[in-house]
Amino acid sequence: MNNATTSTPRRTVIPFGPQHPVLPEPLHLRLVLEDEKVVEAQPAVGYIHRGIEKLAEVKDFQQNVFLLEHVCGICSFIHALAYCQGIEELMGVEVPARARYLRVVWSELNRLHSHLLWLGLLADAFGFESLFMQIWRARERVLDLEEQTAGARIMLSTCTIGGVRRDLSAEQVGQVLRGLDELEREFDMFVPVVIKDATVKERLCGVGVLTQRQAQELGAVGPVARASGIARDLRVTGYAAYGELGVNPVIETDGDCYARTLVRVRELYQSLLLLRKALRHMPDSPIAVAVKGKPEGEVVMRVEQPRGEVMYYLKANGTATLERVRVRTPTFANLPALLAILPGCELADVPVITLSIDPCVSCTER
């Protein structure tokens, strides 16, 4: 008699992406829903696969700096940094101290702009348009700083093998420091909202919980892992000038979207701190050493991107071109975690949860 209620009801199947306004990037999720509750999420990628790893085997190892910078437009500098550090380790190049500090400066500027961008997109995903505007307004200050120091807003192209390509004058350092002060004042305009607003918390707290165990087993990295209580931040290993500056990983334990937001918000302040420290204590030295010869051997280089650990595996054979360039980006590592936390949430939470791992599809697919 009750066959209508006992038989399994038909489910809603939705293509979420690739052309979708909530993510500027083409990620396709096949969502299966029951009354707006997600029961299954399966991703399809490859909409943005450019074959960079193959291209990097064609271009010479110097050109690769610029190519690999284009793996991702958001953390462009850090990609170049990871690659350059890898080649430097292969060739045994000692990078001058000032260059190492400058690398920290640009890395942290990249991190600031990436986190702000992400915060804005998150605000947009839960429909808080004016918060998005406010955050991106602050982000423009970071972009201005990048343009002032590197000559471009997005593709800094300042990292090179053996050092950096641009130096900062004392005046520029002063400008950046002043810019950072202004930026901090801008933070006060929106950070309390992100942390305290009731509607924001309603959308973030308890949503998409990733337990510490899950995070460990699924290999989550970056803020996703740190929000689940795993202290994993590669800046601790002290590459570039981080060893001198000292970094303590920012940790939250709840593992929900709110915790991930908090981690990134706190990292904004951490970046400010690191930037000020780096700018104030920047030693005087040349900014680059000349690089002679060709790389040979294999190396794995890891650095901390805004989204987490990026891993470069480089294999060189003594010629100008490399034999293998392998890029494992943080989003690729966080995708399994995303797929684990999507089922059970509501459709309205899908954009929020998806964004909470700060997906960079462009990175993921290379």
């Binding site: 909530v22 429909g127 348009e129 509607t199 459709l347 309205a348």
Partner: protein
């Protein structure tokens, strides 16, 4: 003659007022966000452009419901302007929204269909408030006719303050503002792309916009004409209410559909119910 004037006003002037109000909304929103924003008459430009676009559709059925959407909306205004039955006007207003729902669910895009369902959820959330408003008016006037409101000695806001508060929340839903813009919104960035209006393009979208202008006028008109009654004061209060709605739109995240229904049914609807009970009690005691 007065009837003709009233009809002219609600059919011709109302959408223009709604248009300017919507333009003002966009400018104010932009300013609140630290932007310059579009010109005041931007909705007009949008309309002209949409009118000239290709009328893309998925099937022929959905078109009918756009016309019904607009027709019922105008009908609501006309019924109220004629001083007609408020329950009928309420139904007409509900069916205006419902037409959109049915039209949106007649296409196969899951986004549109889910948007339609969320629209129904919205209706479940706000319709009680409107119905309670009508009940409240009946209890004050002893008649379901809108014209009876005009014969009252005191503005409704005096006897229906809690209903008015609930009405403000319902207004936020009806205007598709945050935190309740779950079915569709004037900003595209959400999980349902454009929700209900997803599969309507060009002139049909323009008609939906026009209906929205009517609705803006209607909702604020109720504030001015029913709750406040003195014309200039009413206009002032209505504008303040609208400004408030815009501000709330800008300080809230969008909330989930279920949360919306729960929220509406716990606080505003209960407030309105209290107000109604109070009126009942007063009536039975006062004779």
């Amino acid at each position: 003659m007065g009837t003709v004037m009233a009809l002219f006003f609600v059919v011709v002037v109302a959408p223009l007022v709604g248009l300017v109000l919507n333009g003002a909304d966009r400018v104010v929103t932009a300013r609140l966000q630290g932007r310059v924003g579009p010109p005041l008459l931007q909705p007009l430009y949008d309309l002209v452009k949409l009118w000239r676009k290709e009328p893309l559709v998925v099937n022929r059925v959905q078109i009918g419901y756009v016309y019904l959407h607009l027709a019922f909306m105008v009908m609501t205004l006309v019924l109220l302007a004629l001083g007609g039955d408020m329950v009928l006007a309420l139904f007409a207003h509900a069916f205006s929204a419902l037409s959109l729902v049915i039209g949106a669910s007649s296409v196969r895009s899951p986004f549109s269909r889910i948007g339609a369902q969320r629209k129904i959820m919205q209706m479940l959330a706000y319709e009680p408030v409107f119905i309670l408003l009508v009940v409240g008016i009946y209890l004050r006037t002893g008649s379901f006719m809108a014209s009876a409101v005009g014969r009252l000695d005191a503005p409704l806001i005096v006897s229906l303050p809690l209903v008015f508060l609930a009405y403000l929340v319902a207004l936020e839903i009806k205007l598709e503002k945050s935190p309740f813009d779950v079915a569709t919104s004037h900003h595209a960035h959400q999980e349902l792309v454009k929700g209900v209006t997803l599969e309507y393009a060009g002139p049909y979208l323009a008609l939906i916009e026009v209906a929205h202008f009517y609705e803006t006028f209607l909702l604020l008109g109720i504030v001015a004409a029913f709750f406040v009654r003195q014309i200039w004061l009413g206009v002032g209060v209505a504008l303040v209410v609208y400004a408030g709605a815009i501000v709330v739109d800008n300080v809230c995240a969008r909330l989930r559909t279920t949360w919306m229904v729960r929220c509406l049914w716990t606080v505003p609807v209960m407030l309105a119910v209290c107000n109604i009970i109070w009126l009942y009690v007063r009536r039975t005691q006062g004779g």
